[in-house]
Symmetry: C2
Subunit: 253 residues, 2 copies
């Protein structure tokens, strides 16, 4: 049985508490939260502590707080030489206070409070200072997910940039699609199956191999017609730059 | 029983043949194809004609050929005053020869030969010159799909531009995500659940309401760090312009 203490009560912390509670071979020893009430629906009240000095021995301490607070929280822990990880995609392993053994336990997903998540398919990115600590993190991660990856702090930086492209930017393109529909009195529902199919295709095929459209086939007539059709200069710029990028296969001109 | 004749043997034509063959109340009268062999796996050989003069009476003629060929094919039809539609997203209803009653029967989806499609969820965009012809198209469309929309030629133009944003451009962002992963020795598999979740979210929520990330929260530190991190100028430009667009909520500056 691996005993885990969670430090934090936010979105990711709550999803982790739920996932660990359901997992065999893992026991949540304690949860640290400034406000006890925010977690009483998830875990027995006597396991919630509000003072760092009440933290007991555990095999793993998971700090799941805002990026800005990780360093300070890790410094306040009243023990040393324990395995302490954070769950951030953007912070380096180095922000953790060196009095403990450091690591990262980063679930790569967009969590929202209202939507349940299937943790088993969420990639968990792990980092540790030595093989022994890595093995502990790997054992824990394998209990809640089927997609566990060893990712260095340097790689995690790149991963976060890539996630901005495929998540934040993609969602913004959906928004533009919706706006164009609205402007012409069409329901966004018309585009939804196409959006799903676009995401489905790359489950098994490489994006570059399934690229279609006027940019890909150098259909200059259609590209010109689309650019003339768009009246929003911002949409026009995005159309131009992404068309060029597809034409040059993602390479700098 | 509605009798339909398909003219063409390409991707969309073949998917339509399959869908109509399975549907009650619809009968495929004939299929016109320059090469008989390309369709014998889908339909009885005696229903395939290679000469326009062999075309018999039908309730609906569906021209499913390349955009450039629609006009000429419609002119070659050896009859008049029949209901003739094309299946193109980009061509106006007006490209059809006026000797017949014109219409559009446009299934909005990316079809690939290798991948089976569930036609019932594919939006079908209809246009006709009068209410009576529209009703015929609507009856046929409802037999194969649960998502039937009345879309004018003008709206269809806008829809095609919107589809470029949510399909072509989104797929290109996936490609960039994969390239960033590859450059840093990470598997693209790590990003796939995030891509699926991004597409899933907008099934029930508006894209604008679920936008997250450094651009949305005006996290200038992270944006600057990402721009410094990207070495490919093309990726950097795309990052900049989409970040600005999110910051200005899709409006022109």
């Amino acid at each position: 049985m691996i005993r885990i203490t969670i430090i934090g009560s936010g979105n990711v912390a709550q999803h982790l508490i739920k996932a660990f509670t359901k997992s065999e071979g893992i026991e949540i020893g304690q949860v640290f939260s400034r406000k006890k009430e925010s977690l009483t629906h998830l875990i027995e009240s006597d396991k919630i502590v509000t003072d760092f000095s009440d933290l007991k021995e555990a095999d793993l301490y998971v700090i799941s707080v805002t990026d800005d607070a990780i360093s300070e929280v890790s410094a306040q822990l009243p023990f040393q030489n324990q395995l302490v990880v954070h769950t951030s995609g953007t912070s380096s392993i180095a922000v953790l206070n060196p009095k403990n053994r450091k690591g990262v336990f980063y679930p790569l997903q967009t969590f929202s409070k209202s939507k349940a998540v299937d943790f088993s398919i969420i990639p968990i990115c792990l980092e540790a200072e030595n093989e022994r600590d890595y093995k502990i993190l790997e054992t824990v991660a394998n209990r809640i997910s089927n997609a566990v990856f060893s990712i260095s702090s340097e790689q995690r930086k790149a991963l976060h940039v890539a996630a901005v492209f495929v998540n934040n930017f993609t969602n913004h393109l959906y928004q533009i699609g919706q706006e164009i529909c609205n402007e012409h009195q069409m329901s966004f529902e018309i585009l939804k199956p196409l959006i799903q199919e676009t995401a489905d295709k790359i489950k098994t095929l490489n994006p570059i191999d399934v690229q279609t459209g006027p940019a890909k086939r150098n259909d200059f007539g259609t590209i010109e017609a689309h650019l003339n059709y768009l009246t929003n200069e911002n949409q026009k710029n995005i159309y131009k730059i992404l068309t060029q990028s597809i034409q040059h296969n993602g390479k700098t001109l």
